[in-house]
Amino acid sequence: MPRISVIIDVMDRKNLNFCLDSLILQKYPDFEAICVVFSKDNDAINLLKSYSKFDSRIKYLCFSDVDFRKARKKAIKEARGKYIYFINSFDSISLLTLNELKKTLESSNSDFIYSNFVYFECDFNLGNVFDIGTASDNFQNIINNIGNDCAAKDVFACNPVTIYGKFFKSEFLKKIKFQNEKSYSDIPLLSEAFLLAERISFDRVPYYFYKDKNVLILNKEAYFVDDIIQERNLQEKVFKKYGKYETYKNVLLILKMEDCLRVLLKSKNEDFEKNYISLKKEFIDFDYSNFNQDKIKVIKQIYADLFELKYADFIEKYNFKSKGMYAKDFCNYTYL
C-alpha cells in the first residue's frame, strides 16, 4: 500500500508530461499517482498509457462523460495512501514536495497542510510567490479551533482558492460527509476541511508551480456565473452546518458577488449574455437587509451600477482594465 496518493486532474495533454516527470523525479518514492482524465483527449490518454508502462506508480481513470466532482469523489475513494495530495496536470511540483509535506504533516499531526505556491508565467519568467497571508495583512485573526498554527485560518475557509497543492490525511478527507457530489468541488470541499479540522498546518515554502497565467480564479471550474453561485451557495451551507454562517455571512456574500463579477468581466463574447442574465437573476432583487450595510456598501453599489448603467459606461467608471481583480481592491475584510 503506497504511503501517498497523488490525485492529478487531467483536462488535456498540455504540460502533462512535465507534471508526470516531476512526480517520477520525487525524492520520496512511495506514492501512487491517480490521473483523473476529464476529457476524451486522445493525446492525453496515449501519453498516460505510455507513462503508466514506463512507471507502474502512474495510473489513470477515464471519466469523459462524468462530472468532475463525481470523478474526484471516486478518486478519493480509490486512493489507498495514508495521505492525499492534489495536482492539476497543467502544473508541476518541486522534487522535494512529497518528502517535505509528509514530514510536516507527521510531525505536526495535522489534518491537512495549506501550502504556498509559485505562480509561473508560461514563458518561464519566474513568477510571484502567492503568499497565503499572515496576521499582519488586512485579515483579522479569529481562532476557530484549538491548536491551529496560523491565526488567519478562517480567511482561507472563506476563500480557499484551490485544492491543488494541498496535502491531506486520507482518513480525514474520507470521513467528511459531503451533502452531495457537487460539494466535491474546491470551494465547498475546502471550506468543509477548514471548519472540520482540528489541526491545520500552514507551509509557506512554495512547492507547487502554477503555470496558467490566465487563471485569476484558480478554481478551474468557475467558468460561468451559475457555477460560481452554486459553489458559493454550497459553501454557505457548509458554514451553516458548522454554525459559522452568522459570523461570516458578510464576507461570504462579498466573495460571491466579486467572483460572479470577475467571471462576467472575463466572459468570452459568446458567454457574456448567459452570465449577465444569471447575475441579474440572482442579484437584481436581492434582499440585503440581513447584512452589515457598511461592509457590503462598496460591492452593492458596483452591482447597482452594473444593472443601471450601459455596460461600456460601467467599465469606464470602475476602470476594470487596469485594476487587479482581487478582493482586496474592493473591500477591507473585517469579520466581527
Binding site: L16, N17, F18, L20, D21, L25, K27, P29, D43, N46, L47, S50, Y51, K53, F54, S94, L95, L96, N99, F124
Partner: protein
Amino acid sequence: MPKISVIIPIYNGEKYLRKCLNSVVFQTYKDLEIICVDDGSNDNSLSILNEYKKNDKRFKIISKNNEGLSSARNVGIENSLGDYISFIDCDDWVSLALYDDFCKVLDKINKDIDIYNFNASKILSSDNNLALSCFLNVLEVRNHNSLYDIHTFADFSNPFCGNFAAYNKIYRSDFIKNNNIAFPYGLIFEDQLFYIKTFLRAKSIIVNNNLYYMYNVRTQDNIMNNLGEKSFDIFKIIDLMERDIKLSNLYENLKYAFLQYKYVSYSYLLFVTAHELQEKFYLESQKRIIEASLEKFDEDIMKKLRGYDVYIDIKTLDYISFFDKYKSKVIYDR
C-alpha cells in the same frame, strides 16, 4: 513526419539502462531508430540490449571495442539513417513527449531546422540522501518571443555557459553529415567541441526552455573530480575551437565570452589535475592566457566579466600563489 535516430552510447551502464531504454521505447512518437553502441561493456549491458532488440524492431545494436564516448557517438552517427539525430546517455532518461513535441514544432515551422535545443536537468541519484536539483541555466537567448523563433548562435547571451552537452539537442542529420562534424577521437571535453562546431555552423536554431532530459549525476562519477593527465585535453580542445571560431564570422561576438571560458576552465581544471602535473598545467594555462590577452580587449568590458580577478591573477601570479589563493574557492559554479 521525420524519422529520428536516437543514439545511445553504453559503457557498463546496467544500473540505469532499462529506465533509459524504456523512456525511449515508450515515447509517444514512434518513428524512431534506436541505435545502441556498446563500447565494450563487461557487465550485463549487452544482454539487456539484446533483450530489448528481441521485442522491438526499432533497435540496432552495435558492439565495439572500448574506445571512448566520442568514438561510440561517431559510430552511431555513421550508422544512422534518420532525418534527425538525438543523443542520450545510458544513465539518464527523457520525458516521454520529447520527440512528439519536437515534431509538432517542426510541423508548425515547416522548415528544416539545424539544431533543436531544449533543457536538461541535473539530479543527484536517489541513492544519495541529498535531493538537490539544479537545472541548467534557462537558455538565455536574445529576441526570443516564442518557441517558433529561429535563432543563430549570435543570439545566445551566454554562449559558453552551461549548454555544452550533446544530449539536450536534436540535430538535423544532413547538417551534421554534410559539415563533417564529429566528436574528437580520444579526447574528453568532446561535448564542448561538438557544441561549438555545430552552433557556429547552424543557420537555424530553435530554443525550447522546457525540461525534457533528466541527467543523473553518477555517484561513482569521480571522473570530473580527478582527471589525472586527461585535463590537458582542454588545451587541444580549445585550440580546435579557436580555429573554428576564427574562421567563422562570429569571432567578434564571441571573443570576450571565449576568453572568459578559457581562464575559468583552466583555473577549475587545475584543481582536478593529478597533483604531480598541476604546476605544468598551470604554466601552460598562464602562457596561453598571456598570449590571448595580447589581443586588444576593452578593459571596461573585461572588468564586468565573471571571474575577472581570476583573469588578472592567472596572468600575474606564480603557481604557488595562485594555488594557495584559489584552492578553496568555487570558481566554476556548475
